[in-house]
């Protein structure tokens, strides 16, 4: 726990100590805007009659919160090894590498959630979004969502540990694919039938739908509408357990192999 908290503190320093505190607070509030600006413009101009704006907006911001976790985990391997050249010291410390990654990403997740909260304060009244939060589901969903994203992030981090030339574009491509299929931006019913079916089994889909229902108090489309909110929570819990266990195993394996192969302190200047 001490190592986890220390890693969270390092995460906070990396995220915030590049500027003054008040500038960082503005940055924190402004950063999520890029994630939903397209949604507001496109649904505002073309999709007013569809009534899908709340679906897309909530979906996008909750996807954004998870994306911060897995991008941070994948990128921190590269950043610590190549940029700050501190990966070898992290491995020498008494904290496990998995704990370090989870701590850093937890800070990023909390920062993302804070940014979302700040933006919802104006988005809900201005866009008249349905807002009837079920706090129990929201907190449980947010916690389990972190574990889902951390599991995926740890798996990708293990790949990064074992390669020295892999670019973060791979993470962009991987999670770009998940974003399309997860139904965050539009109901997957727009896809051909096969992809629409696959979308139901993408690990992030139930999380995003759970959070939509938990915050809006409504079922907004027919996507996953045959499942109750409690069933969705169960599915997110199952995904979290499986993915986090798998990610933990992979990152432990990746750490051992990377140490054996001498990849911990390799710099390539790529």
């Amino acid at each position: 726990m001490k190592g986890f908290l220390a890693s969270m503190y390092i995460g906070l320093q990396i995220e915030s100590n590049w500027t003054k505190k008040w500038v960082w607070l503005l940055y924190l509030a402004a950063y999520p805007i890029g994630s939903f600006l397209t949604v507001i413009i496109l649904y505002g101009v073309f999709g007013q009659k569809t009534g899908l704006l709340p679906y897309a907006l909530y979906g996008t911001i909750f996807y954004y919160s998870l994306s911060m976790v897995f991008f941070d985990m994948a990128f921190s391997v590269h950043d610590d090894r190549e940029h700050y050249q501190t990966l070898k010291y992290i491995f020498l410390s008494s904290t496990s590498y998995r704990t370090y990654l989870c701590g850093r990403a937890a800070t990023r997740y909390l920062i993302a959630l804070a940014g979302i909260f700040i933006n919802l304060c104006w988005l809900v009244p201005v866009l008249r979004l349905p807002f009837h939060p079920n706090w129990g589901y929201l907190i449980a969903g947010a916690t389990l969502g972190y574990l889902v994203a951390a599991g995926l992030g740890l798996a990708v981090a293990s790949v990064f540990l074992l390669t020295i030339k892999l670019d973060v574009d791979v993470v962009d491509a991987l999670f770009g694919g998940i974003f399309v299929l997860s139904g965050a931006l539009f109901p997957p019913t727009a896809f051909p039938a096969v992809f629409a079916k696959i979308a139901e089994f993408v690990p992030l889909s139930p999380f995003i739908e759970l959070m939509r229902r938990a915050i809006s108090g409504k079922i907004l489309t027919s996507f996953l509408s045959d499942m109750s909110t409690f069933q969705l929570l169960g599915r997110v819990a199952l995904s979290a357990a499986v993915l986090f266990a798998l990610g933990s195993l992979l990152v432990s394996f990746g750490s051992r192999q990377a140490q054996r192969k001498g990849y911990i302190d390799v710099t390539t200047a790529f």
Binding site: H83, D167, V170, V180
Partner: protein, 271 residues
């Protein structure tokens, strides 16, 4: 004078070579960036299908998907490059060499544009093949001219920003991260820029991609009617923007390099 010019060309060639061939060494880099571009494009095409807009929007999105890698290359491959060179410890070596920094940046832009071209063409190919998008080739020479002028203007803007990044550190990097998505959205990569409204459009027009994409859509998408200006006017504005950016870049690079030397920030890492 001739010696200086030759040195400029040799530096340009050397930096462009590394950018073009260095980026081809890893197949995963090419595949990942093409896939990333393709997924983004697919997202917006399916979004438009959900919204029930006309099929011409698929063409707009595919063209946006073609131009987006250039925008990302300008931001992360040119504007931030001097920052990364500083972080890796190469900048001091570059500055003590007789090679001019401006040649290094122009080489980076030429090389970056050429290696991005391959990825953008792949995204365009998959967009056309998978989503059955049709373009007209009647105005292809004009479209090529607009495209090249847009690149000139975009990379000029990239060089302007690179001097800012030379002086600033992580704060500039964070700013680039912050503005990347809104800038990409404002430039109308995935919808006609005219829908931005006059106020936002005035700001967005300073990003060369905005008018460049609008002109390309007029020339290549037959049913595109929601143009900002006639493409000829847009071409003229882009030429003007390119020249202004080139002038500012040359001035900014000199003055920021001087300021960075004076304040001892050229070798300051991890700040």
């Amino acid at each position: 004078m001739k010696k200086k010019f030759l040195l400029f060309l040799r530096t340009l060639n050397a930096r462009a070579y590394v950018r073009i061939f260095g980026q081809m060494r890893e197949a995963t880099w090419v595949v990942a960036s093409v896939l990333g571009g393709f997924f983004t494009m697919a997202t917006y095409i399916y979004l438009y299908r959900t919204l029930g807009t006309g099929s011409e929007f698929s063409g707009l999105v595919v063209l946006g998907g073609f131009m987006t890698p250039f925008f990302l290359n300008v931001l992360w491959g040119v504007a931030t490059q001097l920052y990364w060179e500083k972080e890796m410890g190469n900048l001091e070596l570059m500055l003590v060499s007789p090679a001019p920094l401006s040649a290094f940046l122009v080489g980076l832009s030429v090389g970056g544009a050429m290696h991005t071209m391959l990825r953008s063409l792949a995204v365009l190919f998959f967009g056309i093949a998978v989503f059955k998008v049709q373009f007209t080739v009647l105005h292809l020479p004009s479209a090529l001219l607009v495209f090249l002028v847009t690149l000139f203007s975009m990379y000029g803007l990239g060089i302007v920003f690179s001097s800012l990044f030379l002086y600033h550190g992580r704060d500039a990097w964070r700013t680039a991260d912050l503005v990347m998505e809104p800038t990409n959205v404002l430039s109308g990569s995935y919808f006609p820029a005219r829908f931005l409204g006059l106020g936002l459009l005035g700001i967005a027009a300073l990003i060369p991609t905005t008018l460049g994409l609008d002109a390309l859509r007029q020339l290549l998408v037959p049913s595109f009617t929601v143009k900002v200006l006639d493409w000829r006017w847009e071409l003229l504005i882009l030429i003007g923007l390119g020249l202004v950016f080139a002038f500012i870049a040359s001035w900014a690079l000199r003055s920021v390099e001087y300021k960075a030397r004076r304040d001892a920030r050229l070798t300051l890492r991890w700040q």
